[in-house]
Amino acid sequence: MSDSHHEESFWRKYIFSTDHKVIGIQYGITALLFLFLGFSLMMVMRWQLAYPDTAVPIVGSLVKWLADLNGFASDGNLPADLYNVFGAMHGTIMIFLGVVPIIVGAFGNYLVPLQIGAPDMAFPKLNMASYWVYFVGGVVMLVSFFLPGGAANSGWTAYPPLSDIATTGQTYWLIGMVFLITSSLLGSMNIIVTIVQLRAEGMTWMRLPFFVWSQLVTSFLLVLAFPPLEAAGIFQLMDRVFGTSFFLPSGLVIGGEILKVSGGGSPLLWQHLFWFLAHPEVYVLILPGMGILAEVIANNTRKPIWGYKSLVYSATFLGFMSFLVWAHHMFLTGMGQGMSVFFQTTTMIISVPSVIILTCFMLSLWGGSIRFTTPMLFALGWMPMFGIGGLTGLPLGLSTPDIHLHDTYYVIGHFHYVVAPGTIFAIFAGIYYWFPKMTGKMLNETLGKVHFYFSFIFMNGLFWPMLIQGLGGVSRRLSDGGASYAHAQEFLHWNVVMSYSAWLLAVAQIPFIYNLIKTLLADKSPNPDPNPWNATTVEWTDTTSPPLGHGNFEKTPVVHRGPYEYSVPGESTDFTPQTQN
């Protein structure tokens, strides 16, 4: 199959490729770089929070250079205006340019066709287009850092009226978002059509690996939830470019003067449209992570995942319910008690399937002969961390305690527990697990374990104090970390703890980066094992030695059984491939 591709030029093969595996890796590399950028912004912010208004060490001159370019005064410290920029762009980059592209764009693209036994995605050219549209969106976001006034500075939620009157960076943000939304739409439609249409013979719905199910539900969320944000983005662009008043109420006073616009708009309209996307987005972040976990856990416990059908039904129900909870972000907007009651009820309901999924994973450990490999360690670390993230969300979902907790560091702690150790641990597990499939080389286990243990410790050191600060009433988005607020004084020392944890967390990533580079540069064995983990799913059992050619399979697989048939009594090995008759 690979014979006919010898003549492909470098550009066709690696840059403008239509092979889902190459596109997946392109997504992966780009998204990892963006994750690093988003993390770097945060490390500078953490200096400002721990030691307000002092010069940032090491990168101080860079910060001063950027501040001068944006027109902010800086002596090497992070001025408040630039802090706002970094805060808004940290969120935007991490979510829309980092995590979603890596977990859907990279993992979904690379693995879905392989796991269902398809030669490629259903629309290979569209697939290439979705990567390049994402790339352009990323470039627009990066360019906005160098504008006068800096990049977007109204938070990743871009609430009007503030965002309507913000500096030019916000316009770039909106244009960038339109590109990113378009890319997600193209990519997710492609994934759905691939799963529905290109499953190999015998790959029935209940034989799909849970990872494929999670990608299917996620893609539906992206297809249906992103367009309302696109609508909102278009409205905000109209407000900013053509002077309309979609989000500007009548008689808005700014700087002591009434703003000269027609008025009649509604700031709440933005919040409804925004959260209609952004709540399902949370499940876009976590569901594929859960999919990765199911694969890793089944493989490393050497037994079937507990409650496969419960997982599938829970994920589907979760996807459906996620469209009915958005206004729990808006309890304090004065939208009325009836609305609050409805949305807090749906929020309590949606926690049920999440708990079922977590429970299934924990019960899967019972009686298994667990292999403590690096991917499994990340999976095991994920469980309590996601548990903390989920449980700390309950008080926020109830409208009464939310009065105290709204917009405090507690919220930040809660969603970082879900997204950082939640999704990012799943991403690490996935990278360590599928790296041999992508390259034919195993990552070093010792370095992997060092990476895991230190990441685990410092993530907790970084996010746990946020919960404490938040319960004490320290607000989010304060550029001095609360130093000028009386009630925050007794919580200020936690800022130092969190900041050191953040920087040490960065140090803990060095073994990972070193591991990646060292393994990539190392010589490949001439005939790497296509199935080093002794797994059951099609991408391991029916492919040739990596790297795989365009078209994936030499012989189209035929599936005969479910995805997790480990330790089947009477079989000669402890794994029974899906394609074994």
Binding site: A122, V196, F226, M238, F242, S262
Partner: protein
């Protein structure tokens, strides 16, 4: 490497790939216009008078004059949808001449729609009713503007299928017929959006 079910139907789903693809795309379009329409509802219910009174008064009188234009445009778009189906039927009957005629009519109708729209826009802007005038005008220009962009996108695709794209008819006639069906589904959707825009923007004031 061939992607399966590009042309033939998959047995258990009864679909070819791009047909499912276009339906998913239309689902996302429904959510996009759903967001736009819900903004209309929210802003209108929150307004003391509708259309709101701005610097140049209310658009209401000017709007009455444009109802005939918009009605004409509605008829033109429905006609274009009918000829779109006829073009597909013509391909099913393997009659390329008829196909070119019907698809050509669809494209001409779409162009007429845009010309009428242009005169409507310039008249309103000339009288000072720009998007920033009031929230009705903002909604009017955003909603019809986005719909207009969808028309332009449709024209580009249909013109390609009428002109250079037709070479596929000789190599893969079935796949080409599927393309017309898929393009037609999109075109009917664009038509349908107008069927909603026409009453809420022109009649219900």
């Amino acid at each position: 490497m061939e992607i399966p079910y590009n042309v033939e139907l998959r047995e258990d789903t009864g679909l070819y790939n791009s047909k499912l693809g276009i339906w998913l795309f239309l689902a996302s379009e429904i959510m996009l216009f759903g967001g736009l329409f819900s903004a209309y509802i929210l802003l209108r219910t929150g307004a003391p008078v509708w259309p709101p009174i701005g610097e140049h008064g209310s658009i209401i009188h000017l709007l009455k004059d444009t109802i005939p234009h918009a009605t004409f445009n509605t008829v033109i778009l429905i006609l274009s949808s009918v000829t779109m189906v006829m073009a597909w039927v013509a391909l099913k009957q393997k009659n390329l001449g008829k196909y070119k005629m019907y698809l050509g009519t669809t494209i001409v109708c779409a162009l007429i729609f845009l010309v009428v729209k242009y005169f409507e826009y310039s008249h309103k802007i000339h009288e000072g009713f720009v998007p920033a005038h009031d929230t009705y005008m903002a909604l009017y220009f955003t909603l019809t503007g986005l719909h207009g962009l969808h028309i332009v996108g449709g024209i580009v695709v249909l013109a390609y299928l009428w002109g250079p794209g037709i070479s596929m008819w000789n190599s893969e006639p079935e796949r080409f017929t599927n393309r017309i069906e898929v393009a037609g589904l999109y075109w009917h959707f664009v038509d349908l959006v107008w069927i909603f825009l026409f009453p809420i923007l022109y009649l219900l004031n």
